[in-house]
Symmetry: C3
Subunit: 348 residues, 3 copies
Amino acid sequence: MVQNGAVPFLRNIWYVAAWSHELGAGQPLAVKIIGEPLALYRRTDGAVVAFEDRCPHRQAPLSLGRVEGDALRCMYHGLKFAPDGACLEMPGTSAIPPRTQVRVYPALERASWIWVWLGDPRRADPARIPATIALDDPEWLMRAGGLDYAADWQLVNDNLCDLSHLDFVHERTLGASTGASWSAEQPKVTPSDDGLLFERWFLDHALVGSRAGRVDTWNSYRYLLPGTFLMSTQSFPVGTAQASGFGAPAAKPIYRRIDQQAVTPIGERRTRYLYASGVERAGASEKFAEGVFRVVNESFAEDRRIIEAQQAIWDQTPAEHERAFLPQDKAPALFRRMVAARLADERT
Amino acid sequence: MVQNGAVPFLRNIWYVAAWSHELGAGQPLAVKIIGEPLALYRRTDGAVVAFEDRCPHRQAPLSLGRVEGDALRCMYHGLKFAPDGACLEMPGTSAIPPRTQVRVYPALERASWIWVWLGDPRRADPARIPATIALDDPEWLMRAGGLDYAADWQLVNDNLCDLSHLDFVHERTLGASTGASWSAEQPKVTPSDDGLLFERWFLDHALVGSRAGRVDTWNSYRYLLPGTFLMSTQSFPVGTAQASGFGAPAAKPIYRRIDQQAVTPIGERRTRYLYASGVERAGASEKFAEGVFRVVNESFAEDRRIIEAQQAIWDQTPAEHERAFLPQDKAPALFRRMVAARLADERT
Amino acid sequence: MVQNGAVPFLRNIWYVAAWSHELGAGQPLAVKIIGEPLALYRRTDGAVVAFEDRCPHRQAPLSLGRVEGDALRCMYHGLKFAPDGACLEMPGTSAIPPRTQVRVYPALERASWIWVWLGDPRRADPARIPATIALDDPEWLMRAGGLDYAADWQLVNDNLCDLSHLDFVHERTLGASTGASWSAEQPKVTPSDDGLLFERWFLDHALVGSRAGRVDTWNSYRYLLPGTFLMSTQSFPVGTAQASGFGAPAAKPIYRRIDQQAVTPIGERRTRYLYASGVERAGASEKFAEGVFRVVNESFAEDRRIIEAQQAIWDQTPAEHERAFLPQDKAPALFRRMVAARLADERT
C-alpha cells in the first residue's frame, strides 16, 4: 500500500480560482478546482459568474461557449444560460423545462483574486475571505505570476509551513536574498481557527541588494486554510528587535516587502500556485521590483522541481516506511491536522 | 459512477478501415478497429488482405513485416504467411505445424474505401456495404481527408445525427457556408433497418459562394450503422420546394454537392473519421472544390475540439446527472437505441 | 486475461546500473532498477555509493542532493548522510535519532560498469560479477552507448537468446555486416548455473568491410542472468573450422571483435540497455571502429522498434492465444525457465 489514495478536499471554503486579469470581458475561462470543472465569465457590469463547466444538455463545456450580454451560450447546440443558471434559450423549442439549469457557484473578486466557493452556498460568507493587497495598490510595486504543480496541494502546504527549506532549495535564490539563516532556528508558531501565524526576528544581518547596511528584520506570515500565504517582511536599524522585546515592532521600517500566495488544488496530484510579491513604492524603483520578482520566479521553479520529485517518490513509498520527524515539521503537521479536522467536520 | 465504462462495439458489421490510397502496394498498413490491431496489405493483383496484426510465433506486429508477392513475412523471426493465413515458411524448420496460421478478416475495397468485417466471417455479406461515390468518379470533383478523435465513436454519431450544431459549432464555417439555419427546424427523420434517413428543405436562401442567387435547397442524408454518413445537397430555383410538395424534388438541380463520411471506432475513446466532399464537376472549378473542402477541414477541426472537450467532461459526469432532452436529440437517441439493439443481438 | 500482469524481478543478483562515465564526481545520478529508485554518487576516493533515492525525512529524492566530501546532503531540508547511510546532520536539532538513516545498497565498479545489488546484502558476493573488458582496455577500440526500451526485460532477453532475428530485423545492418546467415542453422547451446553459452561456426563466408577475403568465423557468447551478453567473434582462414573439428579454435584469429551488453529492468515494461562493441586495436583504425559502432546503433534502434511494437501487441494478447514454437525458441525458453526458477527460489 502506498500513500495518498483518493485525495479528499475541503468544500466549505473559499478557493482562489484565478488572477483577476486572467478573466477578460467576453471570454470565458476554464478552471478546475478540487476536481470540479468550472467556467468563469464576466457579466456586463464586470461581476464574475462561476458556472459548472458542463452544459446540462450534452455535457459540452460551457467554457468553450460565448458570452452574450450577461448570459453564456453553449456553443455546441446553442442553449443559453442566465447568470443565475436558468436556461434562457433552447434552440428548436420554446418549452424550456424549468429544471434545465446550470449549477452556479458563489464567486467574487477581491483585490485581484477571483474567489470561488464549491461547498454549501448558504455558508459562503464573503467575510471569511482574508484581506489582501491588490496588484494595483498605490502603496506597493507588485508583480504577479503562477504555475501548476504536478503534486498534491498538501505537499505545497508542507513546503510553505516550513521555510527552513530556503537554506537548501533556495540556497542561491530566495534564501541568499534574505541574508539570513532560515533553518538554524524556528519561528514562533501560533495557531488560530483559520490557520497558523509564523513570527520571527532575523538579527543584525545584511540586507541584500540594498544600501541600508545591516538590519534587524521582522518576518511574519499567516498560512490560512485552504492554502493562503500572506507574508510581511520589515527591516529596521540593528537593535530594533531587542528594543521591541523581540516581539512585533512598532517602529517605522526602513524596508518593507510583502508576499501573497494562493495554493489551490486542481485535483489529485495537481495544484495551482498563484503568487505575487511587492516592495513599498516609496523609495523603490520598477527595476528593483523586477529584480525581487526574478528571484521569486527562480525560487518557485526550484520548489516545483523538488516537490514534484518528492511526489514521485512519495507515490512509491509504502505507508509504513520509516519517517524522521524534525522540530520544523511541527507546523506542517499542525496544518495537516487542521485540514484533517475540517475534512472530518465536512463528512458529518 | 461515471458514464462509459468498458465500451462495447458491434462486430457483425462492415467497418471502413482506411482510404484506398492509404494502402500502397508492397507496404503493409497498421490500423486498429474496435480495439483489434490489423495489418492490411495488397496482393499482387491489388486485392486487400486483412490480417490480425500479430504473428502467431512471438506476437510481433505483421504490419512491420514485408510483402513478398501475395504473402506477408514477419520481420522479427521470418515466418511467412499466405493471404489465407497459412504459414508458408518457418525459418529453421521445414516441419510447419498446420495450426500455425494468422487470422484473416474479410476485407474488400469499394469506391475508395477499404472495408473490413471483424465478426462471424460466414455473415460477411458484401451486399451490405452501402453504395458510395469513388474519389475518382468522373462526375464529381472530390477531396478526401481524415482525423482521429480522442472520443467515443457514439459521441461522433450523436454529432452527425443532429446537425443543429452547424449554427453554433460551425457558425462561421460550414454553418455559414450553407446560408441557412440548421437549428430553427428539424429535418424529417425516417428510420430503417440500417440507420436513419434525414430530409429537409431550406427555402429561399442565398447560395453562398455562387452566382446562382437565391435558391431552395433539398438536403438529405442517410446515417447508417455503424457510422456512415452519406449526404446529398441539391439547390433549385426558388419555388421548387413548393412545386415538389415539400417532398423529394424531381427537377434537375442548379447545384449539387455530396458529403461522405465514415466513423470507425479505433477503441475506447478513440475514433477514426474519414471524410470526403464533392461538387459536380460540370460547371465547377478545382479552385471552387478546394474552397469547399477548406471549409470542411476547418469545420471538422471545430467538431473535434468540442467533442473531445465534451468527452473529457462526460468522463467526469455521474450517470445520474440531470440531462436536458431537446427535440433534436430524438435522432441521436434513436440511433443509439439501434446500436444498443444490435449489441444486444450480438450477445445472444 | 492478458499476459504480463505484475512483473516479478530477481533481487539477489548484480545489476548493471550505469556506465562508469555516467557518474561524475560531485554529481549524484538517479537510476531506477526493478522499480527501486536509487541515488548513486562517488565518495572522494571515487568509490560508488548507492543510496535508496528517498530521504527518510520527507521522501525527497537524494539524487537532487549535494555531494559534500564523502557524504550526500538532501537539498530539501538539509539532512546529511554518510556513505554508510547514517544521518550526520539534521538542521534545527543536534539530537539525531539513530534510526534516521538511508538505505544503502552494495555497489561497485568493474571495467566501466557500475553494478548494484538490491537483494540480501549478505549474499552480495563480488565474485559473482562476470569478467568484462573495460572501455579503455589497451587491447581494444571500444565504443559504448545505451537506450531505454518501453518493454519488459524478458522480451529483450528473448531477443538476445535467439540471434536468428539478425536475418530479418537487421537484414541490412548487423545481419548484413556479418556476411552469414543466422537463421538457417542454430548454434550449440550449453546451459550453466548462470546462463547459457552459445557457440557456432560460420563457414567460408565473406568478411564484410575487410580485405581479408573469405573466412571461417567462430562466434560464441554467454548470456548470463539477469541479462548480460558477452560475445566474442573471431575470423580465421577458411578451413580452420574443419581443422578445429568444428569446436572452439586454438589458432590466432585474423580478425577479432567483442560485444558486451547489459539488460537491466527499470520497472514494469521499462528496460535499460547498455552496450559496447570493440575491435582489436592492432590493425584497426578509429574510423573502422566508428563504422562498426554505427551499424550497432542502427541495429539496436531496429530492435527497439520491433520489441516495443511486440510489447504493445503482447499486452493485448489473451494468455490462451495460440503460439508457434520454433527450434530457435529453445534457448529463450530455457533462459525464461532459469529466471522463473530463480524467482521461485527467492520467494522461498
